[in-house]
């Protein structure tokens, strides 16, 4: 791995971390409950992207399974929270 690619990966991870901290601010601050659910969904997606970038960084394909699981758990969690906001019961 050349210096250019590792520098680009480091910069991308820094941008992701800045975006995740902004999402975390919205999660803590958010005026309504649906804002918090939206911020949690955003955090899941950025975490999944971060796992994919780490797969390139460490040259390992094991991170793909983690990223796929993060997509599925983020979907289930967001839908359950949104259904809870809609009806007052999750299932």
């Amino acid at each position: 791995m050349s210096v250019l690619l590792s520098l680009a990966i480091t910069l991308t991870l820094m941008l992701y971390v800045i975006a995740m901290s902004i999402g975390l601010w919205r999660l803590v601050r958010g005026p309504s409950a649906q804002d918090r659910v939206l911020a949690l969904d955003f955090l899941y997606i950025v975490g999944m992207l971060l796992m994919l970038v780490l797969a390139i960084r460490y040259n390992s394909e094991m991170y793909f399974e983690g990223a796929l699981l993060m997509v599925l758990f983020g979907f289930v969690g967001s839908v359950a929270l949104a259904k809870f906001l809609l009806r007052g019961e999750a299932i």
Binding site: S2, K83, L86
Partner: protein, 118 residues
């Protein structure tokens, strides 16, 4: 300019562009005024940024190993199925909660081509 250098430049450019797109999505989540405006911003992260990272990963692992590494498509397929479902259910929940608390709702669409159901 060997082919390895060109491939690494392409992968680095795709990754940096995805980082910038995710940052734009986070800024939209931060700065936009209303919840229904804020819902638009994270879609940028779940579509464009995810596609860019997927292309970077496919290019990197396909040129690194001997075989074509296409299994990252699975993440894109799952994400493109699940992201609209989450968005629609969350929008319906937000509308329901706003109607119940009496907060101002977004205005209806005007000049509808189909007549409203009633």
């Amino acid at each position: 300019m060997t082919p390895e250098i060109i491939i690494e430049v392409i992968v680095a450019a795709l990754l940096l562009f995805s980082g910038v797109v995710v940052l734009i999505a986070a800024l939209g989540l931060w700065r936009l005024a209303d919840f229904f405006q804020r819902m638009h911003a994270p879609a940028l992260a779940s579509t464009l940024a995810a596609w860019l990272v997927t292309f970077a990963s496919i290019i990197y692992f396909s040129t690194r190993g001997e075989t074509l590494a296409l299994h990252v498509w699975l993440i894109i397929i799952v994400l493109s199925i699940t992201a609209p479902v989450t968005t629609i259910i969350l929008a319906r929940a937000a509308l329901f909660r706003r109607r119940r608390t009496g907060d101002p709702l977004p205005p209806p669409l005007r000049n509808q081509s189909t007549p409203p159901l009633s």
